[in-house]
Subunit: 362 residues, 4 copies
């Protein structure tokens, strides 16, 4: 994880600002001969795309991806496959709605990166948040679509498990519900409630946070490079790097602090094939930084969108007190669109560790 | 963060197993001409050392550090200073109590890394947990002692803010109390309660988790390399890499998910010197991955020690069902000794980003 | 240097194949507020562009660069400056002449990477050499144009000092001649000779190698990260990574092996300002891996273009003996166009070490 | 390659100064279950050890290596094997002969790194060259001993092929002669000549350079990560990072510049098993940055030892003109002891790429 690149062997470098001509990424280190089309990537991008319901920003971006390199026809199958060379993906920005940026050009919006970017770099593209915009996450989702194909059998799915203070009822968890509501919510009843709840938030010009859970299944045993490249350490960095994320936990997470040793450690029995079967999964599929073969479970907290209609106290670049009110198109709960982004980051980390493990252990 | 190295410019590589001849680290990239003695490092190591109260493992390790390289007399001051070359630190293991390891040699202790190390590598040093032992964290603390000196004025302090389900009362927070109890607890009343509570846990052969908070003050504005080297992303990885940690949060953390945009975003006013003054710190000192100049606040959850006296169900290397009971010396709350470790990791991350920022921005 | 990225802090990631839709690069870690326009980059690209004389490939590529990100108007000057975020550069491929690739699709051209790419990846874009084409170096030159602006006062110039067995006369070295001949040759007489010589080579369908020298002036004292990030070690890797390069030397280079200690070590006297003045530069401006302040002098050998008209013995993908003759557009001396590429690589390495040095030493 | 670490997956971090308490390295990323003893490493160190003939420095160092971590008994074989965790190696300095360093403490020895270290860091351990001493290379040789075991069947051998202006006769090349003379020279007649020649150099207090050739056999086809992690690019960096090296070449190297395309490109025929057989090896076993399966051949030039008895002009730290004459123990041809060092670096690079290749391609 350095500047705009993450991953050690499955390396993703992203670029682009919210209102520049384009954004995209270069995926380096991908194994060769993996079937890959633009449609594969587009399918994931479409899940993250804004403007699909009234609960996400009304910016209309087709987010159409182009593969610029790294894919060529396979002489055996004739179909397009990765070649082992860098895969460059490009997404052009289309809906950079012309707008008066005078309001935010010189004022620091509370909760946003306006002040810190200015303090660090002395210059910034203020249009739509520039580099710190959530639009950057489209590149992550595109990269994640490739990562998913690197590990045989891997599935990575995300779900919104809490909106504001309202948690889902985990006993009603049904992965099939995810596609049935605009919140990626696995609990149909909670989703119905969220619809009313978020409408109110939206109409009042306010916003609210969320908690997202990502579950990766069919993760091979043994992934993770202790002690600083632990699988959970890399997951934590990857998820914390998503815009607006303020917390990450694995398995029982913060709740494990409340448990006793008896309750927390997952007991084991021999399975039919002699392989260990864990009787619970407080570990979230990771022990000592290495995957156990159980589902890898990560959760992250997304703060409420800082762009709200209520004026907030702030300062401008010249150091004068000002009030800031953010007009325009915004997500009342930016956590919703973080679901496919979280999935993508988890997929990339697992793909990276899959390659790292194969390198060291064969 | 890759295998056994972390940091991009202030790079720490650690080595060593619990019961091998020695452990230690190499700190590379440290700026030159920083005064440094073994005593500076020893002072930090002594805070982490086991056997200082009945609440930490009774293993008796002096944890005496030796500087093997990278320090030489300054021709101006005559005192020892860093030379800009790698600083190697060595800590010899002394109390490798002779013991029958038959019990754990072939059995996988639930909650430990026994199974995953074996599954990954096909071989492991099972004595005292080998590489996955918390003894490795001594090297982190040693490195952290150097990191603290890299950033002028920086202070990094940690505190235990929750033991089991029992949180401290933050209104009673007093940093001076930290040194007055064996828990690094800033709330004297809570500390008194923990003493009784943990004695009970300890006597019953059980264990309990904890939450640790680390606060870094005088962090310069502008540290952090968006978007994948964000300061919070690197903190998350660094803290999650500590043994037994299952969750990390920054500022309001998971609680921010429950807030509205109005309540979460920290408002700003101009200070007397024109510099922005934040009216709250839900952000934990980081916006858009870049430090704001406010205190950087990170919190992490430590699971209960998995070594307990109650027999737990497991399997052995041959795939037979067995029961495992961990005898011997253990911490009833491994979170306590994680406090100086957490401080060290935060100090290292900030030192690294201090150098990275200086590189890019001058 | 890892896969398709080089540089530690000034990081360049390139992508693209010879006959794909586009090639380009992402430059990450560039300091902010450096004035930068497409024209700045285009000027360097134009020096490398093919088809400018009969001595370079007749492929007609405008090599028009687009800046996709990382540059924005400066609020103080109004002009475009770097923002500290990744700078993505795109060059579309235009002249992918339609052609029958049957000849090289299945045959391994001797001296080319055809066999090794196939052996490594099991698939490759065979059109025009795919990823192993010298077209990739356009992205290097583009990145180098930015690197040149990172180090104040830095100048990096390259010259062809040998073609085939024919060396220039160094006593006639005149940097101004570089622009007066199609060879980047600083010796006008040698250039005149090369014109006749290379015409003959070209007409016979043969090719010939070359030696290129790159000189960097105004390199600050102190750059280089001993002992594995030595300035010369990174220069060696950077130059050796250029297509067709088979040797790299610094200062006196291989000739230093023939010298005695008396003749080789550059003597020093105090200059008027007390700073050391070296009386010779066998060291090529680098001692112990660190720049001395003298000009940094690197030289590299470029093998003859492997694409020639004379049939050569080889095998095809099925393992049958075949003869291969490379028709089409080629450089009779690929070393010529390596001059701006070598400059770019040297500039990038120095920019990287400028930032690394500033990080550690301030 | 960054500061004091090299390698991407097989990572070596070295530390230590010439006259400090100890030097050593940490080897991270080594595959598990490779048999490894101290004797394995010692055997390589003994080949590099000073004081074995009158042609190398008379410093008497046993260079006894200790394994501090990363090796444990294998439960299947009972013998010591790598565990996949970091292998720390320690070599204590013994013969730090007490000496008056007044002479070199403040004077910059021409050809040495004295001035540049001081200019960069403002402080340095001047005793015996400190970090820039060739003693550091003992750690490389130790790491190389491990690297050799990573790639099945790999052999890496080095030879001195030129001393001063005197080249060996390659038609007399006999690997068995290497062990029969103190020069690692494969040509017995040349070795006999060198003995007289170097005695003269030595007695006159002078020194002379050398060229070393390293040949790696049984390198699997396909190693190398184009385009910046090319096998030859990494070899170039690794060899150039050795003390006193000023040039590196692969295969025909600089001589390839003099060849035509017809003569340079190695022709291919199908072997009995259908696999390509190269009819020559001008490529030095590498095409497009990827190994061909032929022997990898690298050559590097070592400058003459800068420590000589003849006084040379220089300056001191205060900027006064001085004369410097280096008394004490020195190598008249430091290139001799560079042979095992070069082998070690080549072995490490190949081991690293072996793992990198396995990661990407399986």
């Amino acid at each position: 994880m350095s500047h705009n690149t993450f991953g050690h062997l499955f390396r993703v470098t992203t670029f682009g600002e919210s209102h520049g001509p384009a954004l995209g990424c270069v995926v380096d280190g991908c194994p060769p001969r993996i079937p890959l089309t633009e449609a594969d990537i587009q399918a994931e991008l479409d899940r993250r795309r804004p403007g699909q319901s009234r609960f996400t920003t009304q910016r209309r971006e087709p987010d159409q991806v182009k593969i610029l390199s790294g894919v060529f026809e396979d002489d055996r199958t004739g179909g397009p496959v990765t070649t082992g060379t860098p895969i460059a993906l490009l997404i052009e920005n289309v809906d950079q709605r012309s707008k008066d940026y005078g309001e935010i050009r010189d004022k620091y919006r509370p909760g946003h990166a306006d002040f810190t970017y200015d303090a660090k770099y002395g210059v910034r593209d203020y249009r739509g948040g520039g580099r710190s915009s959530a639009r950057e996450t489209a590149a992550r989702v595109a990269a994640g679509a490739i990562a998913r194909k690197v590990v045989p059998g891997l599935t990575v799915r995300g779900a919104l498990v809490q909106m504001g203070p309202h948690k889902i009822d985990r006993s009603r968890w049904n992965w099939n519900e995810i596609a049935n509501n605009p919140f990626f919510c696995p609990d149909a009843e909670a989703a119905a409630f969220y619809e009313t709840y978020l409408d109110e938030i939206r109409k009042s010009g306010s916003s609210v946070g969320a908690v997202i859970e990502v579950v990766a299944e069919n993760v091979p045993v043994g992934l993770g490079a202790p002690v600083y490249g632990k699988l959970d350490a890399d997951l934590a960095a990857a998820l914390m790097s998503i815009n607006a994320v303020k917390g990450v936990e694995i398995g029982a997470g913060f709740a494990s602090a409340e448990l006793t040793g008896e309750d927390n450690a997952d007991e084991i029995r021999a399975g039919n094939d002699g392989a260990p079967v864990f009787l619970s999964n407080n570990a979230g599929g990771i022990l000592g930084g290495i995957s156990t073969g159980q589902p890898v479970v990560a959760r992250f907290a997304v703060k409420p969108t800082s762009s709200i209609l209520t004026p907030r106290r702030s300062v401008d670049r010249e150091g004068h007190d000002v009030d800031v009110m953010t007009k325009g198109r915004h997500d009342p709960c930016v956590g919703i669109r973080a679901v496919p982004v979280g999935e993508a980051m988890v997929a990339c980390v697992i793909a990276d560790h899959f390659l790292r493990h194969r390198a060291q252990v064969g």
